[in-house]
Amino acid sequence: MNPSPNTHPMKRVTVVCEKLAREAVLRLLKEVGAHGWTLWEVEGSGNQGHRLADIPEFTNIQIEIIVRPPVALELLGRLQQDFFSRYAMIAWETEIRVIRSEKF
């Protein structure tokens, strides 16, 4: 009746950044070997002011990427090194447990 699923530890990396960085971030995800991503548009406020969600050029996106822990490290490192000085951006990681770990 009650199936007990196998869950596996994984990292979720979240990036919130201006939409302008979209293509560059997606390229980076390919480079570090992420197998997928999920993305949506958000409004936000931070050091670099309030970014409303009305003009596509000035809006923000949030990207979530589920990866194995070493890939998370590599991804965050590359973001810190190459992206943080150029773009309005924040990034963090969370510990999660997934089912179907073979997908990531």
């Binding site: 302008l20 548009e41 409303l52 969600a53 009305d54 003009i55 596509p56 050029e57 809006t59 150029r86």
Partner: protein, 330 residues
């Protein structure tokens, strides 16, 4: 001021499009919760670019490429040259860093489609004829100044990327960017599908056009007013520059138009393009190609000063120049 200037000014300030722009400014300053959702903004942009492109293409097919290519080429050159004049002014009078001076130059050489559309609207309002094919000017004036601005900004700067690489990216962006694809694509379609095509689409691309522009300028009033908070940050020089530069470029545009023998209405359109500053394509290109330039400078100048100035006071001013220096269409 002569009575003509005054009446031209009043005609513009009392046109629905400009009044909606002002309503947008007021709504934002009064902290109203009025806000356009992004998909509406995108839809209005697509509509305006498609409509103006299509009508321009139909007009080109009527007038013949033989007539159109020369003024279009001149318009392109005009757009490309403006940064060369603006750059030293910003660099040495304004004391901006090379990269900031280059980025601002790119904005003022490139163009604002909405300002152009507002100018056609103004001509309709005061019932002055013009050549519809002038949207070809709009199509070719966006890219050159952006590319030149990148070159100016990267000269003498030692960056990780090579200049050639940066330029290649900037050119691709400028040629396959949303707005150029829509504008040039619709222009070619309008040209290819001829008068029958124009007739079939008129109920969508022509009749509601003026009204849709009103809605869009309402939104642009809100967008521009959000920049007003940064006016204090950019310094007096840029405030003055944001008003004087468009006037100088507008006059330059009129002179070019006169030299080419363009009529008064079309001259106003060329002048408006020269006077306008890009606030969509150029900022995106600068963020990608000249990331060290400070967006507060170029966005505030283009969107917070020059755009509102052109829409409200600039248009009647350039028209007054055009009226004096050129001859109208019969």
């Amino acid at each position: 001021m002569s009575p003509d200037v005054v009446s031209a000014l009043v005609a513009n300030l009392l046109s629905p499009a400009v009044l909606f722009f002002i309503l947008g400014v007021i709504a934002t300053l009064a902290r109203s919760d009025l806000r356009f959702p992004e998909p509406l903004y995108v839809t209005l942009t697509i509509y305006l670019l498609v409509a103006i492109g299509f009508k321009g293409g139909a007009a080109i097919s009527k007038a013949g490429l033989a007539v159109v290519w020369k003024p279009t080429l001149l318009a392109m050159i005009l757009g490309g040259l403006i940064p060369l004049g603006v750059y030293p002014v910003l660099r040495f009078l304004g004391r901006f860093s090379p990269v900031n001076a280059a980025a601002i130059s790119a904005h003022y050489g490139s163009v604002s489609a909405v300002t152009f559309i507002a100018a056609t609207n103004y001509l309709k309002q005061i019932q002055v004829p013009y050549q519809e094919y002038a949207s070809a000017f709009l199509a070719v004036m966006e890219a050159p100044a952006i590319i030149l601005g990148v070159v100016l900004g990267r000269m003498g700067e030692s960056s990780g990327e090579t200049m050639v690489h940066t330029l290649r990216k900037a050119v691709h962006e400028a040629v396959f960017g949303r707005s150029v694809v829509l504008l040039l694509g619709s222009m070619i379609i309008g040209w290819a599908s001829g008068s029958k095509g124009a007739e079939m689409t008129a109920g969508f691309l022509v009749s509601p056009f003026q009204g849709v522009l009103c809605l869009f300028l309402l939104e642009m009033g809100m967008v521009a007013a959000r920049r007003f908070a940064d006016l204090r940050k950019v310094g007096v020089f840029l405030l003055i520059f944001g008003v004087v530069a468009p006037m100088a470029h507008g006059a330059l545009g009129i002179l070019c138009a006169r030299w080419m023998g363009l009529d008064t209405g079309t001259a106003l359109l060329l002048a408006t393009l020269a006077a306008s500053a890009s606030y969509i394509a150029a900022p995106a290109a600068m963020r990608l190609s000249l990331p060290d330039a400070n967006p507060t400078f170029y966005l505030t100048a283009a969107l917070g000063i020059t755009f509102p100035f052109n829409i409200t006071l600039g248009l009647p001013l350039y028209f007054e120049m055009a009226r004096r220096w050129t001859i109208p269409l019969p």
